[in-house]
Each structure stands twice: as C-alpha cells, then as structure tokens.
C-alpha cells in the first residue's frame, strides 16, 4: 500500500544529512561532554558547535541556549522557571487561549499554587490581538507567553508587536516583566530573530525540523534568571541538570543549519502543495470550513472541519488508505473532547469534532497531494452517506 505522510506538524523524518552528522557521536565520539579527557572534549566540541548553530538559527548568543529534552521541557522551564524566580515581583501571567498543553498545564500548576493567569482570546481567525495583551497587563504581570504559530491551525501570532509592547512597558518602569514564545511550530518555517521578536525566552524542538525526537532548546536572554527545574547537575551553565544528549544535539544543530539555508525553497514547495490540496478539495466537496486566518498561517498546514462527520472516522479511513494525518479531537471513555484549539475559535461542536490537520513536508510531491485529495474525497463522501446529520431524506443503500 502507498504510504503518504501528511503529519509534519506532529513530527518529521530525520534528514539523511542529519543522520550522517550525528552518527560519529553515537560511536567513536561517544564521550560525556563533562569529562576532562580527550574523548569527553570531542563530545564537548560537537556540543559547542551545535550550540553556535542553534544560536545562529535564532539570532542569539551561544551562551543564551539551554538544551532540553524537547519543546515540552523548554516550555515548562520557561514558564515555571520565570514565575518561581520572579514571584517577589508579581504573580500574574498572561497566555493565549490555544497554547500548547505544556504551556497551559504549566500555567495551571502555577494557578493552583496562587498565581493568577489571564487567558487571551484568539477569535474566529485564531489570532491574538495586541489590544487584548495591552488590556491584560497589570503592574504585577511578570510573564507573557504567546506561541509564535499555533500547532493545530498554524496561525502566526503578532510576536514582534507583543515584544515591542513589553519593551515599552519596561521603558515606562515595569521592569520585571518577561516575554516567552513557543516557536516549536514556527521553527524552520518562519525566520526567527530574537532581537526582532523582542522575546526573552523562546522554545524550540528538534524533531519538528528533521532531527531526532528527545531534544529541544530554550533561548534565555542574557541576564534573565530562571528557577531551576532539574536539580543535581551543573550542565547548561547550571540551568538544566543532566548529561547532554550529544548525538541528538549535534543532529539538532545540523538540522537547524539546513533549515535556515533551505527555508525559502522548502516553504515555496510546501505552500504550493498545500494550495494545490486546498484548491482540489474545494472543487470536489462542499460543507467544510478552513480553520484559522488563511492569510496569516504557516505555509505547510491546512486545518479543515468537515460538516456531518467526525474527525476520528475520517482519520481512520485515510490511515487505511496509507495517508497519515491528525485530528485535534479525541474520544475516550464515552466522552468526546472536541479540539480545544478549534473550540477556542468559537466553532460549534460539530465543526470542532470534524477537524483534520494536513501538514505537508519538504519531501512530499504533487502525486502525494493528488492521492490524498482522492482518498479524502472518498472518505468524506462515504462517511456522509452513513451520517444521520447529512441524511434527512430516505436513502437505501
């Protein structure tokens, strides 16, 4: 059976060039980067190079990069690390309504411990409005965390505007306020420059940019203090204990360099494929809605809600035909949880239950798109034939 992967927002395959870069660090250069001997120092050199590559990827200094086990840990370290370090200055946080669960859950934990959290609405278009950020600000606000691009619908948030708002806030005397952005989905798809964005912290994940799972990074602007979340290790300049996953980090550095070099070409390709997909689908089926502002979203992603049917059914139909996609809603123990992201857009339950994310990657082709369109049309039509929502009249099969 043909297999077509259209779930690049979930994870990406490791680029062969990245595998090639990391392999020596699994075998002959396997040393512990903290060891003093030569073999340790070889590993250290690989780690240092990767740190420079990641720093260059986002316009930062190498010593501002803290390697973590992934995006989730980076987000936890940023939110809880700042909140705990800055609690004498204030206990108020601002986040958006559709942050990744690692941000949302970190904020929830703090809320239970006495912090206050303001949730910014994202409206039907899936975008944070700068006026809402301004209104939410309080003298005791210590952290704003807004993702750069949403993981489910890909809408790109006004990060640079929030960054300059935070800067002017500081200039007017509100000095103890920091700005974090989760750039896990944006990385490799949007240019990242922490000076332009005006953020103090920025999260990255390796496996979204064609490197292996299990590695991420947090940019921490020089002078920003974080409360330790991992105790018992001096690594990462005392900011994250634990032996560094050198081979993975080397891969992350190599992948970031490639992503930067090839970004324009990759984006042009995925945008063309995504547009081809949406055009063909629009011509062949009705009663569906694109989720999120189509003019302000990542180039590789299309999130669509199909009326009368449920996302999981469509996902399984597509999977049986070899097409891998994802849905934000999940059904378990008799309770359906419509996608919280689609819900945050104000969509009704039926649309929130029928959403599917198609996310294209650098190695997809026109043929992949055409096949996926054909299978999607067939599956949607088949499921609609079974649906009591789309069949008020009598049809006997």
């Amino acid at each position: 059976m043909r297999r077509i992967y259209l779930d690049h927002s979930a994870t990406t395959p490791v680029d062969k060039r990245v595998v090639h870069a990391m392999l020596p660090y699994l075998t002959e250069k396997f040393g512990n980067a903290s060891s003093v001997h030569q073999m340790g120092q070889e590993a250290r050199a690989g780690l240092d190079r990767a740190r420079r590559q990641i720093a260059a990827f986002i316009g930062a200094q190498a010593n501002e990069i803290v390697f973590t086990s992934g995006g989730t840990e980076a987000n936890n370290l940023a939110i809880r690390g700042i909140a705990e370090a800055a609690q004498s200055h204030g206990r108020h946080l601002i986040i958006s309504a559709f942050e990744h669960p690692s941000v949302r859950a970190s904020a929830d934990v703090l809320e239970k411990r006495g912090w206050e959290v303001t949730i910014l609405p994202v409206y039907e278009e899936g975008l944070v409005r700068i006026a809402d950020v301004r209104t939410a600000l309080r003298p005791d606000t210590i952290l704003i965390s807004v993702m750069m691009a949403n993981n489910e619908i890909g809408t790109v948030q006004p990060i640079a505007e929030i960054g300059s708002l935070v800067r002017s806030e500081r200039e007017s005397g509100h000095r103890n306020i920091w700005f974090h952005t989760d750039a896990v989905q944006a990385a490799g798809r949007l240019p990242l420059d922490v000076s332009v964005l005006g953020c103090d912290l920025l999260s990255l994940s390796a496996h979204k940019i064609y490197a292996p799972k299990g590695t991420g990074a947090l940019f921490v602007r020089k002078g920003v203090r974080l409360a330790l979340q991992q105790h018992g290790g001096h690594q990462e300049r005392e900011r994250r204990g634990g032996t560094e996953a050198v081979a993975n980090i080397v891969a992350f550095g190599a992948a970031a360099e490639l992503a930067q070099k090839e970004m324009a070409e990759r984006n042009e390709n995925v945008r063309r494929l995504r547009d081809r997909f949406e055009e063909q689908l629009s011509a062949r089926i009705e009663d569906f809605a694109f989720n999120g502002d189509r003019n302000s979203r990542l180039p590789h992603l299309s999130n669509i809600s199909f009326r009368f049917i449920e996302g999981e059914g469509l996902l399984i139909h597509l999977d049986m035909q070899g097409v891998a996609v994802s849905t934000g809603s999940a059904c378990s123990s008799g309770t359906i949880e419509p996608s919280p992201v689609i819900r945050a857009l104000g969509r009704d339950d039926e649309l929130a239950r029928g959403s599917i994310r198609f996310s294209f990657g650098k190695d997809n082709t026109d043929e992949d798109v055409d096949y996926a369109v054909e299978m999607t049309v067939r599956a949607v039509q088949g499921l609609r034939q079974l649906s009591p929502l789309s069949q008020p009249s009598a049809v006997v099969v």
Partner: protein, 119 residues
C-alpha cells in the same frame, strides 16, 4: 492502528447502511456525553425483523457497532433481538478497547428504543 481486521472491514465496507423507506420502527439515540448518534430503522412483521438499516455519527466504533447490529438483526425474532447484549456487539466487531465499549452500549440502547416503537 489497534483495531481488528473485522473492525477495519466494517469501516471499509459498512453493511446495512442507510434509511429504510418502509420501516415501521425507527429510533435515534444520542450519547449525551460525547454526542455520538445512532439511527436504526427496522421493518418488523409477525415478530420477525425483515430488514434493518443504520445511520451513525460519531467515532469509528459507533459506526461499526451500528453496522454490525443492523446486519445481525435481519432475520432475527424480536425476542432474540431483545436478548442481544453489549458484549455480543463487541464480539461481532472483533473486539473493542474497553474505553470504546460505550459505542456498543449505544447500539443496544437504540435497538431497545426501536423495539419499543414496534410494539
């Protein structure tokens, strides 16, 4: 994907789907928690179910259980249909993870509602 071959076959080739134009017992039940819906139409004569059709909206197990139920009902007496259980539906679709058993429960509820209308 952790579903059985039987389950996948029902997904790929749903049986007994659609509306029954001459049904004399139709019921539609909704799982109030998750919103899944199942519509079942029966043509009942002299205590026998001559024909059964289903329509379903919801997660794949709801679709599959609806199809398996309608398929097994054809030719059954009302008495036997009344004796069907959730476990029999689960077995008919080749097993279901425990967290999806509510789909078979919805099928049985809808069956009972339809039989009540046939009386």
């Amino acid at each position: 994907m952790s579903y059985s071959e039987k389950f996948q076959d029902y997904i790929a080739h749903p049986r007994n789907a659609g509306e029954l134009s001459d049904a004399n017992a139709v019921a539609e039940e909704t799982n109030p928690v998750c919103g899944d819906r199942l519509r079942l139409g029966l043509r009942v004569r002299d205590g026998f179910i001559e024909a059964a059709r289903f329509l379903a909206y919801g997660c794949p197990p709801t679709l599959v259980c609806g199809s398996a139920l309608a398929e097994m009902l054809e030719g059954m007496t009302i008495e036997d249909a009344n004796r069907l259980t959730k476990d029999k539906i689960v077995a008919a679709v080749g097993g279901l993870p425990a967290r999806k058993h509510h789909a078979a429960a919805l099928a049985i509820e809808t069956l009972h509602a339809a039989i009540n209308k046939a009386k």
